[in-house]
């Protein structure tokens, strides 16, 4: 009954196995293909990430403090590019094309790193790499959602995020393996990273169905309430994108994403606080992000499936409650030996319960013709909010110190989660028009 049959999966045409024998398979083949692309691409980009500080400092003899200052700018750029990529994909009605351009741009940047030997050009190349990432995110998520029945969105995004994280964990391993074989072989790391990235593009080209989810827009499908976009294959205009925010449910989700993003302390700060709080030895510090990633990887699929079953709102809010618990432990817990494990587990569970669940919830509220735009709107809002939070948290940390800054973030998170719980509450059925598929309303 969760299959919400009235809106047939758009991937049905190209991925017939989706509905083959009346029982849906775990995930659509498109999702697996996109997951594989992300896995491969993340291996490629995390290879670079893992060796970049060493390359800049030991290989090129640079001090990367200036580079750190530029990082924030990249994040802003990436968020705005995401909006462009999402809208462009809907506009040309070819999500695969725009996603492919994004993956291709990022792949091109890796060998270019070999040619750049000073901070300026390296910054430009990394900014282009981030542009590629921004460009591909929304059309890729749109492809995932368009190839999946409404009732299985959470699981599909969970599978994708788990595969993505697997790649992120394998990347550093590959890089250190290469550096183990070839001392100072940064050129080899960048070269192999480029080859891996190209392989990701090849898999995308070969195994991901083209077009906007592989189907022509169907006029027969019941449009969600207050649908601002024409169901006809009209060109998608900027105005339609803006009108998306008139969809009450999407507006609610975007508002909550921004509010909660404003109180989500960036990962780096969490690890820094954890080290200060528990006195973890320096040599373990680089491993802290791996703890979060491992838990995220293990729980992304179950959390997504759970969200499909008991409601995405519940799981999404629970995720933030777990983050709040992590903040609480960092602030008030006694000095247990298990504290670092607990905090990292909660941090990973927070990601598992929110990172794929939010786009799953967004996908269920946005018409197909504007799917990528809708996902990008929420994604950009969230990214900009988190960036603002980073700046604000850094300021609060400076002014008040770590404890009060984190306490303020926790208090903010509590308030925002309460607002989100209220805004996202299940609404009574709208009698005038068929309501958009609302995951939160299912039992």
């Amino acid at each position: 009954m969760y299959l919400a049959d009235r809106s047939a999966p758009s991937g049905a045409k190209t991925a017939p196995t989706d509905r083959g024998s009346g029982r849906a398979p775990a995930v659509a083949s498109t999702v697996l293909a996109l997951g594989t692309v992300s896995l491969i691409t993340d291996i490629s980009s995390e290879m670079v990430t893992a060796v970049l500080p060493l390359y800049l400092i030991a290989g090129l003899g640079l001090s990367p403090l200036g580079f750190g200052a530029l990082d924030g700018v990249y994040n802003g750029v990436s968020a705005l590019v995401q909006l462009t990529g999402g809208h462009l994909a809907d506009r040309v009605r070819n999500h695969k094309l725009v996603a492919g351009l994004g993956y291709g741009l990022s792949a091109l940047c890796k060998p270019l790193l070999l040619l750049a030997h000073s901070l300026g050009p390296i910054s430009v190349i990394l900014a282009l790499e981030r542009t590629g990432k921004g460009l591909r995110t929304a059309p890729r998520d749109a492809l995932i959602s368009l190839s999946t029945p409404d009732g299985l969105q959470g699981r599909a995004f969970g599978v994708h995020r788990a595969m993505d994280t697997t790649g992120a964990l394998l990347g550093p391993l590959a890089a250190f393996l290469i550096l183990g074989v070839a001392v100072d072989g940064y050129d080899a790391v960048f070269g192999v990273s480029a080859c891996v990235a190209v392989l990701g593009v090849v898999v995308l080209l070969l195994f991901v169905p083209s077009g906007a989810g592989g189907t022509p827009p169907r006029q027969a499908a019941a449009p969600p309430a207050a649908l601002p976009a024409p169901a006809r294959p009209n060109p998608v205009r900027l105005r339609d994108a803006a009108a998306l925010l008139r969809l009450p449910r999407l507006r609610a989700l975007a508002l909550c994403a921004v509010l909660l993003g404003l109180t989500t302390v960036s990962d780096a700060f969490v690890y820094l606080l954890l080290q200060r709080r528990t006195g973890i030895d320096d040599q373990w510090f680089p491993l802290l992000p791996l703890g979060t990633a491992a838990v995220f990887l293990l729980l992304a699929v179950p959390a997504g499936a759970l969200a499909d079953r008991i409601g995405r709102r519940t799981v999404f809010l629970t995720g933030h409650a777990l983050l709040l618990a992590a903040y609480g432990l960092l602030l008030w817990a006694p000095d247990w030996p298990a504290l670092p494990y607990l905090v990292l587990a909660l941090h990973g569970m927070f990601y598992a319960a929110t990172d794929g669940v939010l786009p799953a919830a967004v996908a269920a509220t946005v018409p197909e013709s504007l799917r990528a735009t809708g996902l990008a709107l929420v994604g950009t809002g969230q990214a900009l909010a988190r960036f603002a939070c980073s700046l604000a948290f850094g300021g609060a940390w400076t002014l008040w110190g770590t404890g009060p800054a984190l306490a303020a973030a926790a208090a903010g998170l509590l308030c925002c989660a309460a607002v989100a719980g209220h805004v996202l509450r299940p609404s009574p059925p709208v009698p005038a028009a068929p309501a958009p598929p609302d995951p939160a309303r299912r039992p």
Partner: protein, 338 residues
Amino acid sequence: MTRSRRLLILAVAVLLLGGVGAALVLHAASRADRPRTGGPAATAGAVTLTAGRDTLTFLGSGQGPHRGALASVPADAPDGTRTVSDLSCQRFHAAAGTGVCLRSSPGALAQDNKAIIVDAELRPVRSFPLAGTPSRARVSPSGRFAAWTVFVSGESYGAAFFSTRTAILDTRTWKLEPNLEEFAITMDGRDHRAQDVNFWGVTFAKDDDTFYATLSTAGETHLVKGSVSRRSVTTLVKNVECPSLSPDETRIAYKKRVRAGASLWREHVMDLGTLRDHPLAEKRSVDDQAAWLDDDTLAYGLPGDDAADRTDLWTVPADGSGTPRLLTSGASSPARLG
């Protein structure tokens, strides 16, 4: 396109890309054993750090078998035949029989970064785990104190996070100050408490207590004068990075940021008595903690003119006169032992 054709194309792509990748790795791996032609002559041998012999030590930075290895030459013949040890580091400094070697090696899951204290015969005495990538290393003139700076980076280059950590070690008592940020800071005469404080680039005076370093807070860098025993620092002037105290302890060589926000530095020398400074004749951007060869001459590393995977050592007069001169090619982390 049929499924089997797509799989065929994928197989071909995997083979091609795998081949290119393997070739790149093998090429890089073989390069490590291939001596570089045209570089300074080198023989394997014992490098000692004892005072009394006037030598210059540095790390080999050219491609080839001696990359990263600690080498020494007579101070009066810097381009002569090098004696190359089997100690390999990313950063190195030594004085009076004590050396500090910052080493980063690929670990199973992440970089394995260590600071290794070595004795005059380069035997490891103790090692300390580091929280990040090695950046600066210094030993006090007496050989008693060692200091190092590492960059602690976030988990991704998309994260707005970069931080330094500077430690000072007493090699007599093995008391470690793991983080200078714990020291009391006096800025412009007042107590300064802020969480965005970063220190880097320590340089020691002969009294084995006074040191100078860079303090960064609120987007500005300051020169600080500190005391190890009092665990405190005091700011002196702004826009000073990577100070290096002259042997006669009257002047500081440092890199001065040319324009706020830009990664361009000019090497300057400041008189500590008057806090007046002048630029050196080096017009290129120097991103290194310069070393004094004597009271009149500074040495520093710059990326190679023809190959960027190599650092060369240059010298320039400390009074702002003259022109930069190549000291020796394929070398970094210079230290004069006298």
